[in-house]
Symmetry: C3
Subunit: 364 residues, 3 copies
């Protein structure tokens, strides 16, 4: 337990862990204080996500590059996956889809933009491996296209009905997971040199002992699941009270919360002039949402959801995801970055956030 306690003492973020028991207490005592529960659960998830991140890196560092990379890749989005599963079980599909779209957009615009800006404020011009960045951006673009085809086609063509969208979503989910598997093979087995500095455990933390890391992984995942329950239950009413729509909450809040730990790594990498890390985390994490988390949710919804979920997103989400991945492709194409590039990405993100904030709520 010692390394854990030492870490918690050192890293101020972990002081937020106090909110974990607080939110459970509040849930019992003040069951109807939705806004309060919402805020407390958000504050509780952030440090839990960071703990998960450390634990994952520790396990990855011990198991060697291959399995370690796989772990880092798959568990990197564990927080988002757990929150989304909880919302799925509660049948809140708008929240689930908003979280998926939001995670993709937040990673490619906010995480990447803030990294480029933070790094650019310190270094006049920063360079990064553009071959690696191009490959990841293409991968992300293609994954996003795959995710958007059902929406684009049924929106554009009135002949497509709900049955079509459902069948297509299942078929696509299978295809996407196959592509994810082949992508793992590609980045960990056949061409690891192209992804060398992107996803390793160089976060600068001393890895924990294996036993502690595994126990933390298991225990914290359970805690995240429990806190997510409270979060998902309260989000509807809290959003109304705070003047936000569930779509906005999913798109902005869940994405920022779920990606908080990864953002810390990306920003830190940018400040150390290691943009490869930041770009790799941002683009890689977004690809996983599209290639792994979304398909898994669709397939799992046949088991644990009230009704099956499909991959049909509402039109503004489609537009935003498409623009976000195209922007990321354009911007990372050159291999060079300055502070203003970060500003531009953040500006597009601000525009999306403003648009979502002002949009009236939708049904289904």
């Amino acid at each position: 337990m010692n390394p854990l306690l030492t870490e918690i003492q050192h890293n101020k973020l972990f002081w937020l862990l106090v909110f974990v028991p607080v939110v459970f207490a509040a849930e019992t005592l003040q069951h109807d204080a939705h806004t309060l529960l919402f805020i407390l659960s958000v504050l509780a998830i952030v440090p839990l996500a960071a703990l998960l991140s450390h634990a994952t890196e520790s396990v990855a560092a011990k198991t060697g590059d291959a399995v370690g990379g796989l772990l880092n890749a798959t568990l990197g989005n564990l927080t988002e996956l757990v929150i989304a599963l909880t919302a799925l079980r509660a049948g809140q599909y708008v929240l689930v889809k908003a979280s998926l779209a939001g995670a993709i957009v937040t990673n490619t615009l906010f995480m990447l933009g803030a990294s480029l800006l933070l790094g650019g404020l310190k270094y006049h011009v920063q360079e990064y491996n553009r071959i690696s960045a191009r490959m990841q951006a293409s991968l992300l673009f293609l994954a996003t296209v795959a995710l958007l085809i059902p929406s684009a086609v049924s929106q554009a063509d009135s002949v497509a009905g709900a049955a079509f969208t459902q069948k297509l979503s299942v078929g696509l989910s299978v295809l996407l997971i196959v592509a994810y598997g082949l992508g793992m093979l590609y980045s960990l087995k056949t061409h690891p040199e192209l992804f060398a500095s992107a996803e390793s455990g160089e976060a600068g933390h001393t890895p924990w002992p294996m036993g502690l890391a595994l126990a933390t992984l298991a225990g914290v995942t359970v805690l995240v699941a429990l806190v997510s329950e409270i979060f998902v239950e309260s989000v509807q009413k809290a959003a109304e009270a705070l003047g936000m729509t569930p779509a906005f909450v999913g798109f902005i809040v869940v994405a920022l919360v779920g990606g908080a730990a990864e953002m810390a790594s990306a920003f830190s990498g940018a400040r150390k002039n290691r943009l490869d890390l930041s770009v790799g985390i941002a683009l890689g994490s977004a690809s996983q949402i599209a290639l792994f988390v979304a398909p898994v949710l669709v397939l799992v919804s046949y088991v644990i959801g009230p009704t099956p979920m499909d991959l049909q997103f509402w039109p503004s989400a489609v537009v935003m995801m498409f623009i976000a991945t195209m922007t990321a492709s354009m911007v990372t194409n050159g291999g060079r970055s300055t502070w203003f590039v970060g500003v531009l990405l953040l500006m597009v993100y601000a525009i999306f956030a403003m648009t979502l904030y002002l949009l009236p709520p939708r049904v289904a």
Copy 2:
């Protein structure tokens, strides 16, 4: 005749030529066996397309680079042109448009993706002339944009009517053919060095004597036209019987059949680590569909079609063509390729094929 017979004996593909007389016989004897006629005609067209390809290359090799390149470029899509003209004469405009869209998408995603995959399974990383590839991808993108403007505008704007679409289609066709002519001037006259290794007759076959080649060209074209008649007549009923829509047949089947000979050259080039050839064939062939075949069909429809044909595609075709050419531009931008890039392109193609397979039939 000797070189022809020697070739036929050597190349197993030409054993399929037996289906040519078979399909004519079947048409006479079993006029209503639509599914059978459909399958037989597909099997008959493939070797005919390959013969056309060899004959074209032989003529091109003899007439020198300029005219030869022109011939290769224009006659490269002869099979698709003949099939489309036959469908045009029969008034089957859905099939025609599906074939056009399908040829563009099949070349940029399937032909290119399979080439990159086949080459990538043999070579760790492959490089190709990225300046040439970029130019061709830009050309293709602009040609596709031109082709899609009538659909995008009338879809988006209710003020646009059928008369508008028709006039615009004619104007665009003229513009596109002018651009095609200028493109010939560009790639064959003023800047041939940029396209050097892409479209020459290095297919590895000994050219036939000129007389034989010309005779083969003429004769096989007639055969292709006759077989196409059978194909087009049977496609409607056969598609229903096999559970496919005419849109799917045009998009996938016709495109694959029509491009079969070119695919053989592209795949062979990739396996010999000459990706310039593969990329050039894939992108160049797709550009010709947009810049030459489609406009010619529109203009010719005023003469031989029941009613004039316009360039308005249904929305999912618009989306797919746009995504396909954008993907090709992104992917060929870097000048480097690995097996996984091919996988991604094939995955997007699989998604399109799956989508088209599941879409219910459309009217007009």
Copy 3:
């Protein structure tokens, strides 16, 4: 006055200045001859725009790089801003929006394409600073995306209403102007070396004395405003008489007229093998329309317009702006250009012009 008179004598363009008094006379004498007034006002604005351009460069040359660059950047689109403000005051919002969209499209396709073609007819291959071009193209793309979000979202989502679009347009305008300010800081203060040869006063004209330049700036701006009044009043009836819609007039005519002076610089740069200048002017000018002129018009409309103006464009304008900036990004990505690239850009422009010419008029 001497340098002014010398200049006017030398440059044939300034002979068109005779139309300035002519149009005023015509307005008084022949108030209802709308078509005549329309043509005369167009002919009068062109030399006035050129005078404004010279005066701006003279002031910029005297005030040093920082303020000079700022002046060049902001006043480069002064003509378009004045025409648009006049139309705004008259409540002709279709004309205003068509002018904005048209300026973006005309700069990225026509100005850039004609420059590349003119240069390419003289030089076999031309190279330009692709890092600078990429940055400007990304900036332009992101600015255009920002400008298009209200339209894309409200078009795609029926829940968005007019109030939403209005609030969002105001918020976006503020964001865009902030981005414009940061962009000035970026290109003039922190990273001027990336934009070095793009926007300086190397137009080859001897700068005028400061007093003369400032007086010319003030005086000519007033003249442009007065001629614009006549132009805006006559455009509606003249367009009908000449068979054009106000959308076409705004998109094509106003954009070409307003950008005439800049085009002269861009073309001249291309002919001298200084494509950096041409690309910088084309992309930079288009960015300013999106980041400065459009937002200013929205905010000013709350003061001088009959009703507030929003940033919602009709669908075909959205499609065209998006395609134009994407095309510019693709084409300038490689840093090399030949005559045919210019042809392609001009072809897309011709397609847009043809489409707009054939489209029936719209309401609001």
